[in-house]
């Protein structure tokens, strides 16, 4: 347990350290949210119709940003060797890394999502659900994204490759999260979508670490 805490604290310190930490992801998110009305036209009804979904999509894309650093740095400087020879199995190490990524980047992004949705014209009563879904979805994006990050260790074209691998895997949480928010916006039942999102994220947290650890072991060999 103490090893888990030690690793978590370190991963958080590294994430918040030099290099801007979550600020880069937040800036990216803001840029995407800004480009949307520029691209789609500022007509309020049109924007408002896509506002929740767009905010959600921007969240998914922004989650991709910090993924590359999740394992790549440790792989390149030899820290991954050390992490694989320690008290925790690589599965737990992967889970802690994804969790730290969610805490350092996912939480701020989740806070920004409802704000962006409102800015794009969504109804303010959607805020609680959007926030809850963004928090939950962010976890799912971190763990699924981690699989992509681990698989592309040692490859050329790191960042884009991670996106190509991971974005199709993001389809279910994108559908469920945006679907729940839009259901609420339309006055329908939002619980099924939200529960499916929760289920997906729990599954990602439970199974993702196994894939990540297998991918790391493959890269180290």
């Amino acid at each position: 347990m103490s090893a888990l805490i030690t690793l978590l604290r370190r991963e958080l310190a590294l994430a918040w350290g030099k290099g801007g930490g979550p600020l880069v992801a937040l800036a990216f998110y803001t840029s995407v949210a800004t480009l949307l009305p520029l691209a789609a036209g500022a007509a309020p009804q049109r924007l408002a119709a896509v506002a929740p979904g767009s905010a959600w999509l921007a969240l998914a894309l922004s989650s991709l940003l910090s993924l590359e650093r999740l394992f790549e740095r440790d792989y390149e400087d030899g820290a991954l060797d050390l992490l694989s020879l320690g008290p925790l199995p690589l599965e737990a190490v992967s889970a802690v890394k994804c969790l730290a990524q969610w805490i350092s980047t996912g939480l701020p992004l989740a806070a920004l999502t409802p704000i962006a949705a409102i800015a794009l014209g969504a109804d303010p009563r959607l805020i609680p659900l959007t926030l809850a879904a963004a928090l939950l979805g962010g976890l799912g994006f971190s763990f699924v994204g981690g699989i992509g990050a681990a698989l592309s260790l040692g490859s050329r074209r790191g960042g884009v490759l991670v996106a190509v691998i991971v974005l199709p895997l993001f389809a279910p949480p994108v559908i469920f999260g945006a679907g729940a928010i839009e259901a609420l916006a339309d006055g329908l039942n939002w619980t099924p979508g939200f529960l499916f999102l929760g289920g997906y994220c729990l599954a990602a947290m439970a199974l993702g670490p196994f894939a990540m650890a297998a991918a790391c072991r493959n890269a180290l060999s």
Binding site: S155, L161, L169, G193, F196
Partner: protein
């Protein structure tokens, strides 16, 4: 049977005659199926374009079947570390991607005369598109890692992750579609289709499957030879 085939020499011996046989069977069945389809009366609603169904639907099925073969090979490759399984996975991926792409293109062509749109975001087509993207991700990952053995293992892990995700993706797309529309626009093969279409469709599906089998076996053979040639080249260079 798997252990029987796992011996590379036995596999090569078996596939030497099996691959062309399946190929011939596939061509024959396709001719018969297409012939039956062309002779069937045109659908009152869709006209002659319903015939695209005979190319599109089996392609869609094969896109999924090939992924199952890919995932199965990947599983054997990961668990048993058998190079033949890795070769089989590598060989299946482009074929599956090709079938998925064919399904997407023919799906679009089918849709155009019916709804006037080159593409509709209906459940089936969207699922098929995401399946195609899974293939693309697999191929991209494999191509991006230089060490072949590592590339195979990484890609195999991705194939299994994809296999677990595919039912979830399919369900989520169906759910998403049901939020905005009624049922799927595509009439699925089944009791809804009259028998006159059912038979040619079944024959075409069989033809596609045998065709996939022939192509897959041939590609695995080519892969085995490529690896042998590579090993010999490394040996000779010492």
């Amino acid at each position: 049977m798997i252990t029987f085939l796992a011996n590379p020499q036995r596999f090569m011996d078996l596939s030497r005659w099996l691959a062309p046989s399946l190929g011939v069977l596939a061509v024959v069945l396709a001719c018969v199926g297409l012939g039956m389809g062309l002779n069937a009366p045109p659908d009152y609603q869709q006209g002659a374009t319903v015939l695209i169904m005979f190319v599109h639907v089996p392609a869609a099925w094969l896109g999924m079947f090939a992924y199952a073969c890919l995932a199965g090979s990947a599983f054997f490759g990961l668990v048993f570390r058998h190079s033949l399984a890795d070769a089989a996975a590598r060989a299946a991926a482009p074929l599956g991607a090709g079938f998925a792409l064919l399904a997407l293109v023919t799906g679009s062509l089918w849709g155009r005369p019916m709804w006037g749109a080159w593409w509709v975001w209906d459940a089936r087509l969207t699922s098929e598109l995401i399946l195609f993207l899974f293939y693309v991700g697999y191929l991209a990952l494999q191509a991006a890692i230089d060490d072949e053995a590592k590339a195979d293992r990484a890609a195999s892990i991705l194939a299994l992750v994809g296999a677990v995700n595919l039912p979830i993706v399919h369900y989520s797309v169906v759910w998403w579609n049901s939020l905005h529309q009624g049922e799927s626009i595509f009439v699925k093969g089944g009791p809804l289709l009259s028998a006159v279409y059912l038979w040619p469709l079944a024959l075409m599906a069989l033809a596609y499957t045998f065709g996939f089998g022939a192509l897959w076996l041939t590609r695995i053979r080519a892969e085995v030879w490529r690896r042998r040639a590579g090993a010999l080249a490394v040996q000779a260079a010492r």
